[in-house]
Amino acid sequence: MNLAIVLNVVIQGVLTGLMYGLMALGLSVIFGVVRVVNFAHGEFAVVAMYATYLLFVGLGLDPLISLVPIAIAFFAIGYVLQITLVHRFVGRSEHEQFILLVGLAIIIVNGLLMIFGPDARPTNLPYSLDSFAIGPLFIDTARVYAAVAALLVSAALFAFFRYTSTGTAIRACADNLTGAGVVGLNVKRLYAVTFGIGLACVGAAGALMVTIADASPSLAQSFTLLAFTIVIIGGLGSMTGALIGGVLIGVSEAMASFFFAPSMKSMFSFALLVAVLVLRPQGLMGRRA
């Protein structure tokens, strides 16, 4: 076994994992604050992938650029969705929220199937075959750019929640909803902003994801499960947890694909998930409830 090969696999897993982490961050933010499980999360990621594909084919826009308009559009979608529909479900039982979003997920994924058909749509970037050679290591250029972009978006999100007054207000809602209402925060609007931010994250992640996968409706469900797995492993509501969970799953997937078979990679993720649920239900970075 050559150490350099293994190192290559690990680096590739880390880079992919950062994109996964950004996607999971969106889910974690929505659940941590609004307490609604977005079971259509992966479906939104795939919508973003198709949008990126269309912008690339139609206007020649690079995914790293189309990320910005897509994230803004997804923020708007999330805001409107929360205000009009999801807000009615806040505080209702979990299975009702779940079924609402499962319904939405079915509509999105089959809508995509009706519009684009089942065939995968590749985004052939001019630099998608390039790689950086560092000694014995060969690292995909596109993956490095995408991972850096994912880190930048995550950093922006951390800064938003840490330093802006809206971010602080949203954290207040998450910590103590009644208290937030008492001091006069507009919870309904803040929830909508949060859902919007969550979708903006998944939109940005989807735009970056075209560097590692071709857009196809069949990805949606596995992305949803992936996001849930990462968030639970990292700790629900913990933002660093989502990123760390993402990297962990990215590396585990890369290793499983390399040592076993690519089709078996998610078996390892699910095994990790069950282990975390049983041994450390609050997740790696979560606080005990």
Binding site: R88, F98, G103, I232, A261, S263, M267, F270, V274, L277
Partner: protein, 332 residues
Amino acid sequence: MSDMWAAIPPRGRIVLAMLLALLLVAPAVLDRYLMSVLILIFYFAFVGQAWNIMMGYAGQLSLGHALYAGLGGYVAALLWFYFGIGPWIGVFAGVAVAAAFGAVIGWLGFRFGIQGVYFALLTIAFAEFTRIAFDNMAFTGGPSGLFLLYDEHRAGEWWNLRGGPMLFYYLGLILAAGGALLTAWLSRSRLGYQWLAVREDQEAALSLGVGAFRAKMIAVLISASMTAIGGVFLAFYNNSLFPSQAFEIGRSIEIILAPVIGGLGTIFGPIIGAFILTPLGETLIALTAKFGLDLPGTKAVFYGLTLMIIITLRPDGVWPWLKRLLGLELKP
């Protein structure tokens, strides 16, 4: 049994008896296509009832019920395929395997306090795990599937579930009716009341000495076993099994549609739900095909919309509302 009958108001008894009689004689006049629709309705009413026991009564959200149906179907089909053991015996093996998986999931979930969404994810994880495992195993046919050859010489062997629509029609009817009877009986038993107590407030139930762990475990075992029987039925009706279909989340969601739309935690909910949804879906396909709009995914979009509308406007399902409308409520 007699007190169950007494719990139905006189008007309801007449409607129910008429409906049953109608379904019993219906095959005499129905064509092949309508028979196949009714067979699907019975199947969904039955597995919906199984899920209803777990979610509607015991309050445990499982989104991996395809696992039990798939295991039941695969075990019985493999026994038939390799050893010629008929499904009436195979179903016991299928139920045993599915119940064993249910026991593991239930034990992990309830022993370690994995609840709500977390529990749902645990069930999905097991179903997906099994799907990938079956995809990678050779003796199950792997991703290219397992086919039960339809042999003309055995066409009349009802004891091997080798028969036409008539056989599956009556078998389906028995399953759907039997499932409803079982649920009705359970819901009025000591166990049924324990389920409701655990569903409504587990802490309170525990403080009153209700064995929540035991009650929930029994719910999983019954539900998994029933679903496995449904899986055997479907496998021998379709004569084919694919891991990508049998264990898919889509299949699990199909199972929960009828009870959610009909009414969770009610005996007639899954039946009404199946009777509403399946014909609507079939009509939609026929209509879209007529206008040349039958793109793949149309039916699923319709199901998704139905789920969203029902859960937004009538979270208790159609049946409680329909019951009031028809005046079928028992006067207190």
